[in-house]
Amino acid sequence: MYQFELQIPPSPEYIAIVRLVVSSLASARRAVADERVDDLKLAVSEACTNAIEAHASVGSSEPVTIRVTEGDERLEVEITDRGPGFLPDALPTHPPVTDPARLNFERGLGIPLIKTLVDAAEFLPSPEGTTVRITLYGGPSDGGDETSEILRAVLADDE
């Protein structure tokens, strides 16, 4: 059980370093299987991108905090911003990929990616900002039919 904390200026150029740190921690400690390190890296990167955009939207130059906690057989990463907060369940959904109008949507892929890549993703908005808590459980991935489940999640997104 350890905790590791990182504070970065709210600027896109620092996200690469967050990825470096998170993937180094995750692979050094072997709390999660190797093939999941890339999943975690992408999910954390997406959450940091959103956090930095949230700061930009309110003109905040406060740091964004990334906290990595390793417990028994799990790795938790919390990304905390001081942005305006948001309601994750109220996000618009995309047209299905078969619809030509799909091409009008260059954005909005981040949160579906986060939700799909990790074992648990919690979005905790508060008046002071948002914390996204991402959890990966230990052990090798189950090797199940991830893609079809994934596609369903993205295309339907009807929770």
Binding site: D38, T49, V97, R102, F105, L113, T116, L117, T147, I150
Partner: protein, 112 residues
């Protein structure tokens, strides 16, 4: 962090854009600019070679979707070369494997 962007003419009418490094919210604008530049030069069949890409996030996906849209509206196309499973996975998760033509090699893409 540098994003490598190399343009090469393939067999007509193809233009190959080889991308190297990490495509994220910091570097994706350079990829977008390069695509816009190529389209404005009249390159309407673009193959984006992702074999040298170590990381691709949703911003990168968005830029590729934007490029595809721009090319299609010019009767062109944007196809991809990618064999790395961790990058393919990102297209799969987002359903974009159904939107893009993805090939094993540049030769495969130009032979299509």
């Amino acid at each position: 962090m540098e994003l490598g962007l190399e343009v090469a003419e393939g067999p007509a009418p193809y233009t190959v854009l080889a991308v190297k490094g990490e495509v994220d919210v910091y570097t994706a604008p350079r990829l977008r600019e390069k695509l816009v530049e190529l389209v404005s030069q009249g390159k309407h069949q673009i193959i984006v070679d992702l074999e040298g890409v170590d990381f691709l996030d949703s911003t990168g996906l968005g830029v590729l979707v934007g490029g595809l849209k721009r090319l299609r509206s010019n009767d062109g196309d944007l196809s991809l070369v990618c064999t790395q499973s961790r990058i393919l996975k990102v297209f799969e998760i987002t359903g974009l494997t159904k939107v893009f033509s993805i090939y094993d090699s540049v030769d495969g893409a130009t032979a299509s």
